[in-house]
């Protein structure tokens, strides 16, 4: 090997190692700064109370409104997206499995819809609200977030469902089941872990997104109690409180960020753990 080649080899290898460790280091840095700021700011009082009088000038209260609001909104949207999404994903993989061209067009459209920025969904959701005469409310937020996470939900379920071998479907059909039974009894059981992963992934997206709820869900100091009233969310509570000049209020933004990050980390760890556990019910070929 010539010297020049040797140097080139070394040079690029070092660059590659640097790039990889850069990514890992940045991740560590982000997690570290969120936790460092958040743990200093967080307290039981912040977690367990709603904003009180003078809250936005640094007086007492907490972010319970945003925590419960976010959870209610994200769970609602995830459930709705699941109820719509699972049949669609099954339909693509059981009923349309022979029509390759149609399926690839559907996948293509889903990918396109997945790529649309969430702020566009927010603007569209707002337009929709005006048309049907809805105020900023939990319901409007749920509808918008559902639209936003639906393609994510369907495509991730679809990726799992398409790994189900066709032999399993044939075996099931030959035993006299119809296609719906095959879809809901056999396919879902075979892919439980993947479906749970898809649901938790969508939940994480839904709870973390601010741009889509900005126009539609509004913000309030109260706990969510009605579908037709505005609801507070964690991403917006971070965003609004961070722009305050009062340090106490800013600290609560750090606390909110910590809570939100922990919820998302737990959801992603949970999906891995559950995935491993439900592996047992799977039939291996």
């Amino acid at each position: 090997m010539k010297l020049r080649e040797k140097i080139e080899e070394r040079f690029f290898k070092v660059l590659m190692i640097m790039a990889t460790w850069f990514i890992l280091a940045i991740l560590a840095l982000i997690i570290f700064s969120i936790f460092e700021k958040g743990i200093k700011a967080i307290s039981w009082e912040i977690l367990s109370q709603t904003p009180k009088g003078g809250y936005y000038y640094g007086k007492g209260g907490g972010i319970l409104n945003a925590i419960t609001g976010s959870l209610v909104l994200a769970v609602g949207a995830t459930v709705l997206a699941f109820v719509i999404g699972l049949p669609v994903a099954l339909y693509i993989n059981v009923f349309l499995v022979k029509r390759k061209k149609l399926v690839s067009i559907i996948r293509f459209i889903l990918d396109l819809v997945w790529g649309i920025p969430s702020i566009v969904y927010g603007a569209f959701g707002f337009t929709l609200m005006v048309i049907i005469g809805l105020q900023t409310s939990l319901l409007a937020g749920i509808i918008t977030v559902t639209l936003f996470i639906l393609p994510i939900m369907i495509r991730s379920m679809d990726e799992i469902l398409r790994t189900v071998p066709i032999g399993l479907m044939e075996a099931s059909l030959s035993l006299g089941t119809n296609k719906s039974e095959t879809a809901f009894r056999i396919f879902t059981r075979q892919t439980v872990s993947g479906i749970i992963t898809a649901v938790l992934l969508s939940f994480g997206r839904g709870i973390g997104d601010a741009a889509s709820v900005l126009f539609t869900a509004g913000y309030t100091d109260n706990l969510p109690n009605s579908l037709l009233e505005p609801v507070a969310t964690l991403p917006l509570s971070i965003f609004f409180q961070l722009s305050s000049p009062v340090p106490e209020v800013q600290a609560r933004a750090y606390a909110s960020a910590l809570v939100l990050t922990v919820i998302i980390l737990v959801a992603s760890l949970f999906s891995r753990g559950l995935g491993r556990r439900y592996h047992k019910t799977k039939i291996n070929f």
């Binding site: 990514i23 969120i34 396109l112 790529g115 566009v120 603007a123 994480g204 961070l242 750090y254 990050t261």
Partner: protein
Amino acid sequence: MIASLTLLALLPLMLFTGLYLKSFLLLHDYNLFDLLFSREWKPGAGKFGFYPFIIGSIWVTLLAMLISAPICLLSAIYVTQYTRKWFIRIMHPAIDILAGIPSVVYGLWGILVIVPFIGNYLGPLVGAKTMGYSILAGSFVLSIMIIPFILNIMIEIFRSIPDALKEASLSLGATQWQTVKTVMMRKALPGIIAALGFGLARAFGETMAVMMVIGNVVMVPHSIYDPGYTLPALIANNYGEMLSIPKYDSALMFAALILLAVSLFFNLLMHFFISRYNKY
């Protein structure tokens, strides 16, 4: 099942018509060319020039791509070609976590770390007058956000290249880097371009994180240390006021329409690119 499937298939069309109808008021009264290339943004006086926002978005997006493209490419090659299997098992959760962190949290991190760094160290070092809230800060935060997205696709692409190709090259006496450079890269090139295209589309529409660190000053930036304004930030910042002036409302919906069009265009382009390439 069929009903929800149809609904979903029509979603892009619904989005498009909805936003188009809303922005019709603006498009009816103004020339499209003037809207896109005029620099004056005075909604109160009925002047809607989107140029500063469009150029701000383009700067931030391109700069972010410039930062993350080489990092993702190098890292994808390293992870797939140079390391053992266990390393990928570490990288995957790391990528998942990076992808899962919400954009407001990225924005918060940008305000805590990147903005002071640029304002206090980097700016004075290069002699630029900056508060830290700048195009550069926006691009940097954005580049980190799209890394997991691009890296994931690139890793898949490099993994899908058959081992035989690599073995053939190595057996002919090429070094590992030569194999990567001349054989793997050639095979992976269309995929790499597609990964970058998808990343670009994603970056263009990113809202909150960029908005939190870019400064939000309506101006055509002259350097990367200047503050700027992006299209998504324009929509997000003005949602409260927009109801009062119908044309303003219409203008914001027009901004959303531009975003939708850019996103659909890039995604379509890349899909055709990939399907074309897959035939060979």
